[in-house]
Structure formats: C-alpha cells, structure tokens
C-alpha cells in the first residue's frame, strides 16, 4: 500500500511541532510543512483550535484526516514507523519518561510565555533550582539503570529519545549550559545518540531544520 502524504501544520518554528518532525525524519518519511496564513479563520477549522496538527492524506482516496495534539501525533507515527519499544511494559516506562518531558516543557513554557515580565527572574530561578535538578536526577536514574548508553529502555532509539533531544535543546536555549556533558552526562549521551543518528544528522544539517 502506498505511503500516506504527511503535512506538519504548525508555525514556522520548532516549538511543539519539532518532535513530530524528528519522528518523521528518523523514520525516513517524507513530509511537508504548512504554516498558518490567516490564523483566525484557520483556527476554527482545527479539531481543538490549536496547532500542531498532522494532515494525513490517503494516496488512494485523496481524503485528508486532520490529527491534532502533538503527543497523540507523535505516538501514532512512532508506532506506525516502529520507533517504539516492542514490549508493552518497556513502552509504558518509556511513555512515562515522555510524559515527564512534557511536564518539563510545560513548566518552561509557563516561565517564558506565562509569567509577567516582573516576575520572570524569580520564576526562572525557581525553575533552575527546582524543576531542572529534579528532571536531571529522575532521567539520569533511568538512563543509568539501562547501562548509561543514551537510551532509556531497551536498545533502540525511539520517539522518547527524540523528544528528550528536543527538550534538551530547548532547555539549553532557555538556560545556557543547563544540560551539558558535565552537568548531566547521562542526558548528554541521549543528545549525542540522537544527534549522531544518520538520518537526524542529515536533518540537522539540512534546510528543513527551523532555526528557532
């Protein structure tokens, strides 16, 4: 059966669209980007009035399905293209790590976008002294339990490593040197493992990568 056509419908940034793009890139699956032009009208046509969305066009029927919610999109593509742990319990443990990454992303978004300017320094400090160390500690424990090889569960790269790669980049943008080989070596290995994956390496060097 021919491959569906995928369009990642999101703003012209990495943001919450990037982990979708990373999964498609790692799977070697072609996709297009679509950016909103008239957001007010387009918003109303989306399932939850939000982006990202994944437009999936069936090659035979030409029907397009719109799938919303970045996490649901990522899990769908990951399962379809075998970027998941095979064992259900391994999958669940990895999934819980994904959820904790979502928590950390949301905490970061709150600091950057949801805090009044005057309160930002204090919010950032709180993030730096509470959220970040806790994140590093929990993730390091999982990674060390799995042999400290940059993979959380089992032996293969999955959507979880791709997601963590993305969040490490975001964290380091918000707080320079938040995650480095020195401050969080086990997590840094995840970053390196993903960055050196042949398809991701090509993606990162390509014009498909959004700069922000």
């Amino acid at each position: 059966m021919a491959s569906p056509a995928y369009t990642v419908y999101y703003w012209q940034i990495k943001g919450r669209g990037e982990m979708i793009r990373l999964v498609l890139e790692a799977a070697g699956v072609a996709y297009e980007n679509k950016y909103p032009k008239e957001w007010a009208t387009e918003k109303a046509s989306l399932p939850f009035g939000q982006l990202p969305a994944l437009l999936i066009t069936d090659p035979k029927t030409k029907q397009t399905t719109t799938l919303a919610q970045s996490a649901a999109i990522v899990r769908y593509l990951a399962r379809k293209y075998n970027l998941v742990a095979a064992d259900p319990l391994d999958f669940a443990v990895a999934d819980s790590i994904f959820e904790s990454a979502v928590d950390a992303t949301n905490a970061m978004i709150k600091v950057v976008w949801g805090t009044p300017e005057a309160e930002k320094p204090a919010a950032l400090e709180k993030f730096n002294t509470e959220v970040l160390p806790s994140f590093i500690k929990a993730h390091t424990a999982f990674l060390e339990k799995n042999g400290n090889k940059g993979i959380y569960v089992g032996n293969k790269l999955t959507y979880v490593e791709l997601t963590i790669f993305n969040i490490i980049n975001e964290l380091n943008t918000l707080i320079p040197d938040a995650i480095t080989a020195k401050t969080a070596p086990a997590l840094w290995k995840v970053r390196e493992t993903v960055a050196n994956h042949d398809k991701i390496k090509a993606y990162l060097a390509s014009p498909r990568l959004h700069s922000k």
């Binding site: 399932p47 009035g49 769908y76 399962r79 259900p88 443990v93 904790s100 806790s134 339990k145």
Partner: protein, 301 residues
C-alpha cells in the same frame, strides 16, 4: 469474582504481594532469585484462607536501582482493621498509589474497574517525605505491579502513561491505529481540561477562585463541549469518539465531565451537551463501572 468485591480501600492496609508458588517450601529471600522465593512476613497479618495455589508473602524491598527502589513502601504495616476478615482467593496484581481522592488517579481506577481487574489502593502516610524520592519522578500516582519478566516489583509513574498501558493491556483501545490516534487526541484534550480543574481547585488562591471559575465556565467549557461534540457527531453520535467500543478515552471524558459538574453543577447535561452526555451515560451504565460507582471503593473527592 466475589473476593474482588470484598476488598475495601482502607487506609493503612497491608500492601502485600501474593506470589504464586508451586510448592509450600520456603526459601530464604534472594534478590533476583525469581518467582519462587517466599520471604519474611513482617508485622501482624490478618487471618485468611488461601487456596492451595497461593502463598501469602510480604516482599522485602528488592534490590533495584534508585529510580525503582521501593524502600519502605512494600513492607507490611500493622493494620487497624475493623472489617471482617476476607477470603483471599487471588491477590491484586495492581496497587494504585495515590492520595485518598480521585484527582489524577481516578482514570487509572476507572480503567481497572472497567476491565474487571483486581487492585488495591495505597495511600501515602506520615512517611511520604521519605517515600517521595523512591518514586520515579517524586510524584503520585504510581502504579505498583510485578514485572512479568523479572518478577520484580516495579513502579510505573505518570497517570497518562499508566492509563495507556492498562488500556492496551485490557483491550480498552480502538482497534484501528488511526482511530486510536484520533481518540488519543481527544484523551489529550480531556486531560488538558482536567489539569485546568486541578490547578483551579488546588493551586489557585482562594480570593482568585470565583473569577477563575467564571473564566473556566465562559471559555474552557464551551470550547471543550464544541470540540468533542464535533468528533462525536462525526462518529455517529453514539457516545464513542472513534471506532465502535468504549475505551480509555470515553472513560477519561466521563471523568472530566464529572469533574466539571462537581466544580460547577449542571454544566454538562443532556440538554447543554447531548453528544457528550451520551459518553457520560455510556460509561456510567457500563456494568462494571456502574457497580464501582455504587461501591464504597469510590473516593468522594
């Protein structure tokens, strides 16, 4: 299945694991020795009759890495048990470890109840500060269960990951992957709304609450109803988001509807949101859920 209904969610119950052993011989507990080790019984145990197949054991905390170390979690504690001794025919395979309330654990309990699966509740005690670092992310809920492969007790954290794991295990997911994904996106949406409610109820200063509740009513609720109604209508308006059967997604939506109506009574009804109300009714009338809702196992808040 009568043994299942004999279980009560009593705070301070012993959290015991019953290991199925082939014989009645006892061996010294050896970490990692496999399923057939029986171990030390610590503390008073309520009288019980075990079938020949099961032996009552209390697990000594296995030697796991810090992320999964259980510490004092699974040591038997003395029970103040005023209930009649129950017959233990089968042990709960799952323990839902959470505060004595619905909160982020209720979806987990609803899935287990819908699946007709035995479980226990465990509540943090005075030693929560000490137990907290032994959980994977320092948070509850956590699902305690035995890893089939290693036979070790393990913890699964993050309510959504727990729900998805149990849903797949007990076939409470849509069959077609794209249907499952569409439904999964609805689950994400329902959880977003539930998270807003949790923040409102537990994290909003008292004086700001009335305004926040009003804002929730005027903005979040209509959007929730509209988005989910569209999806339900597209699937034939039968109380199911995608595919043909009740899944974890309908269960979570039921829970969110219930939370909304607890916060602001009469908000989601057959009149105000007929398509959503069908989801509510589908879940509430499921035989196992119906029994649960009428049982003392249900937490009030």
């Amino acid at each position: 299945m009568s043994a299942r209904h004999a279980f009560r969610s009593v705070p301070g119950r012993i959290s015991l694991t019953i290991a199925r052993v082939a014989t009645f011989s006892t061996h010294a507990a050896v970490p990692g020795a496999g399923a057939a080790t029986s171990t030390i019984l610590a503390g008073p145990v309520r009288p019980s009759r075990c079938s020949a197949q099961y032996k009552l054991v209390a697990s000594v905390a296995p030697a796991l890495s810090p992320a999964h170390r259980l510490g004092p979690l699974h040591q038997a504690r003395p029970i103040a048990n005023t209930h009649t001794p129950t017959t233990i025919m089968a042990a709960p395979a799952f323990t839902v470890y959470y505060w004595p309330g619905k909160g982020r654990a209720e979806n987990v309990r609803l899935i287990l109840e819908a699946a007709g699966v035995l479980y226990e509740n465990k509540y943090p005690g005075d030693d929560w500060a000490a137990e907290k670092p032994t959980t994977p992310f320092g948070q509850l809920p956590v699902l305690l269960m035995t890893d089939d492969k290693s036979k070790q007790l393990m913890q699964l954290a993050q309510s959504a990951a727990i729900v998805r794991f149990l849903a797949r295990k007990f076939n409470l997911v849509a069959e077609d992957p794209l249907d499952a994904a569409l439904a999964d996106s609805v689950f994400e949406h329902s959880i977003e709304v539930s998270n807003k409610i949790i923040r409102l109820v537990w994290l909003t200063p008292k004086e700001e609450k009335p305004a926040e509740i009003e804002k929730f009513k005027q903005e979040v609720v209509p959007a929730f109803i509209k988005a989910q109604t569209a999806i339900l209508e597209k699937n034939g308006n039968k109380g199911i988001y995608a595919g043909k059967k009740m899944t974890y997604v309908e269960i979570a939506a039921y829970n969110t509807i219930d939370e909304i109506n607890t916060l602001i009574p009469g908000t989601v009804t057959a009149t105000t949101a007929p398509a959503l109300w069908k989801v509510h009714e589908l879940v509430a009338n499921n035989a196992n859920i119906k029994a649960y809702l009428a049982s003392p196992r249900r937490h009030e808040m």
